[in-house]
């Protein structure tokens, strides 16, 4: 089934190339069939899409990467994001702010209290009147509960914390609740943004990651643009980055003026893209190219 859909993609991707070219392209087309096993635990990297999803079948970005990049995520020691996870764990237990509290003062053992949290994000917040992302939720805790200063969106400490908290949900299926509050509206706003062409290259997210995933855009193997592995360690960045950093990178690449990290536009886009990956396993912290 997967193989068949992959070869259909190949057929469409190649119009009239030479035989030699088509062979080299075949090697790169579609998601591969590799299995992600981390520390003995199999993490599913594809799943049938829920009703209403524009994608027929969901694939983790891991399935579009080279075997060398895949290997970096298949071992928690080889995965360089784990230096940040270590930092995150330390921060979890470190008192900060006027209330004299650490994360663990309220939430105890993250392995229990944070299991499943990443899978539900973004999630509606009544007090905020909009969806919380991991970043805004962590800062809300810091400011309101700990009396600590908030972290910047892309600060190393923030990334360490989102990686550490996210890891506690690894292997759990992404499951957003769009029924709560105005989540559906935010989702729909995100969907609009996703499908709107912008920038000098006049591309929408959907142009690459909707109908064309699995194909090569120059030397890059297009994924579905799933967010289930964030924060992600990108080889290009040589470090971790947030979902919004990736959005910004894509917009820069297509010569569009990017929205700001933490902007309503990016939060809406995050709600939509996360929900578009409904059912995929959380892979935080993942490794990509």
């Amino acid at each position: 089934m997967q193989i068949k859909s992959a070869s259909r993609l190949v057929g469409r991707a190649l119009l009239l190339p030479t035989l030699a070219l088509s062979f080299s392209s075949v090697a790169f087309a579609g998601p591969d069939e590799n299995q992600l096993i981390i520390e003995g635990e199999t993490i599913s990297t594809d799943t049938k899409a829920a009703a209403g999803n524009p994608l027929p079948h969901l694939y983790s970005g891991w399935r579009f990467r080279s075997i060398e990049t895949q290997a970096l995520q298949a071992d928690d020691f080889e995965n360089p994001a784990f230096t940040a996870v270590d930092t995150g764990e330390e921060l979890w237990n470190t008192v900060d702010g006027s209330a004299g509290k650490s994360c663990s003062s309220c939430h105890n053992d993250a392995a229990e209290s944070m299991a499943g949290v990443r899978a539900k994000m973004p999630s509606w917040s009544d007090s905020l009147g909009k969806p919380h992302t991991m970043e805004t939720q962590i800062n809300a805790c810091r400011e309101e509960q700990m009396g600590a200063e908030k972290w910047k969106w892309e600060a190393q400490d923030m990334l360490a914390m989102t990686a550490y908290v996210g890891l506690q949900s690894r292997g759990m299926p992404v499951a957003l609740d769009l029924e709560k509050g105005e989540m559906q509206d935010w989702h729909d706003k995100g969907e609009d943004l996703y499908n709107t062409r912008v920038g000098q290259l006049n591309l929408s997210c959907a142009n690459c990651h909707g109908g064309n995933f699995g194909k090569m855009i120059r030397a890059d193997h297009l994924s579905q643009g799933q967010t289930n592995g964030f924060p992600v360690y990108r080889l290009k960045w040589g470090g971790l980055g947030s979902i919004h950093r990736r959005f910004k990178g894509c917009m820069d690449n297509i010569r569009a003026t990017p929205y700001k990290r933490g902007s309503d536009e990016f939060i809406a886009l995050e709600v939509y893209t996360a929900n578009r990956g409904q059912g995929l396993s959380v892979e935080t912290p993942s490794v990509r190219n």
Partner: protein, 108 residues
Amino acid sequence: MAKIKPRVKVPKTASAGDVITIKTLIKHKMESGQRKDKEGKVIPRKIINHFKVDFAGKTVFEAQIQPGTSANPFLSFSVKVQESGEFHFTWTDDDGSVYEAKKSIAVS
């Protein structure tokens, strides 16, 4: 930012004469000295330039590291163990800072 804490993976136990694999990873930007900032000025080099592993008073592995090594330097290598003891890992930064880690192995 929390201080630099290296990651080291050493098997807990081994039999005498075993060749074990040790893996190490340390968080570091490894600023190559080749990059320029927004004003076009060269960002000064700041890397981990040396790595050393001692066991029972002897250096068993050493690396001179140059700017072509990636950020968050990773090194894996082998050691033949004959007796129990403690590995002592040392990373040296261009600025003179030294980062250390220790890991014991029980050899039977």
